[in-house]
Symmetry: C3
Subunit: 133 residues, 3 copies
């Protein structure tokens, strides 16, 4: 079944990889900052890296199911494009957050845009499908 | 494939939407409370909104995969009903948490009930399927 | 569709169950420690139990989609084996973290190993599939 969705499959793996990289950076920041587990605060760089990771995790948990629903109801190609927009947004978000948290909005909104477009389009497709029978 | 599961698809989108609304509220509480990123504490309303969001995220990550397994092994209709119970529980949980965190148990348990019923029923179906074939 | 993947289905349910058990323990630690919601810090056992839960959640959100991609591209049996490795790693991680957080690395790395092997193998399969077709 998955063979019909190569771009969505690759996109999912890329989303997992980016989130993994963010978690890895947060782990490294913990080590270099000297904040011992289980503490989650006490060093600004560690806290920023942790927030980028957690916020990306929060977003991917919403985006991945919607992306697959969208791929199946619309197309693998459009899902791949939406995922690229999402990934670019997340990289921008991360870069901004690490240098100046107040500038993180643009990247955040790009990810939300990818989520909302795939979400609304999917809802329309499901409802049209149910009405058609 | 997804066309055979319209209610589970709609339910998944509704779960994503509710979690998104909770994350949006947490973000707004951060702005109105004046707690600057990356700090996660310092204002009671912001902390409650954050906890509702995070707890819902924690639960949806468990519930969504189980819901789809259940839909495929049992039925789309029953999965839709379980999701409605879950969603009602989460809205109750949120309302209670924002007004008085000590009253959040009833809504929490409703969500857990939906999770446990779909979980146990799915296990039974998988094991019966393996024994039959 | 899911009937073709009984081991991956059972593995997913086991991953959900383990994460649920960790969340349950964190909730119980909150109660016995006397840390009132929405506070997330103030008692070492509660903080450790919370970190084990959250870290497992962070890992399962990456592992479950990769596991299903892997099962569909490689085999249900190998996905089941990878999931057992992941689960053992997570139990080791939990045991170590609760007694001495500095010893949590071995269990953590076992989970990461299961993730990386299924991840890389899946990438190879998708790319080979795209080149072939």
């Amino acid at each position: 079944m998955i063979a019909a969705y190569p771009l969505t499959t690759l996109a999912t793996l890329a989303i997992v990889l980016l989130t993994f990289i963010f978690s890895f950076r947060a782990g490294k920041s913990r080590a270099s900052s000297g904040v011992s587990a289980p503490a989650m605060a006490g060093d600004d760089t560690f806290e920023r890296a942790t927030r980028v990771h957690m916020n990306t995790l929060e977003q991917m948990v919403l985006f991945v199911p919607v992306l697959w629903i969208f791929a199946m109801l619309v197309s693998d190609l459009f899902a791949g494009i939406a995922a690229v927009v999402w990934l670019v947004g997340r990289v921008m978000y991360s870069q901004a957050y690490m240098t100046d948290p107040s500038k993180r909005t643009a990247g955040f909104m790009l990810g939300i845009l990818a989520l909302l477009i795939t979400f609304v389009w999917s809802i329309v497709m499901v409802v049209m499908g149910m009405m058609a029978g």
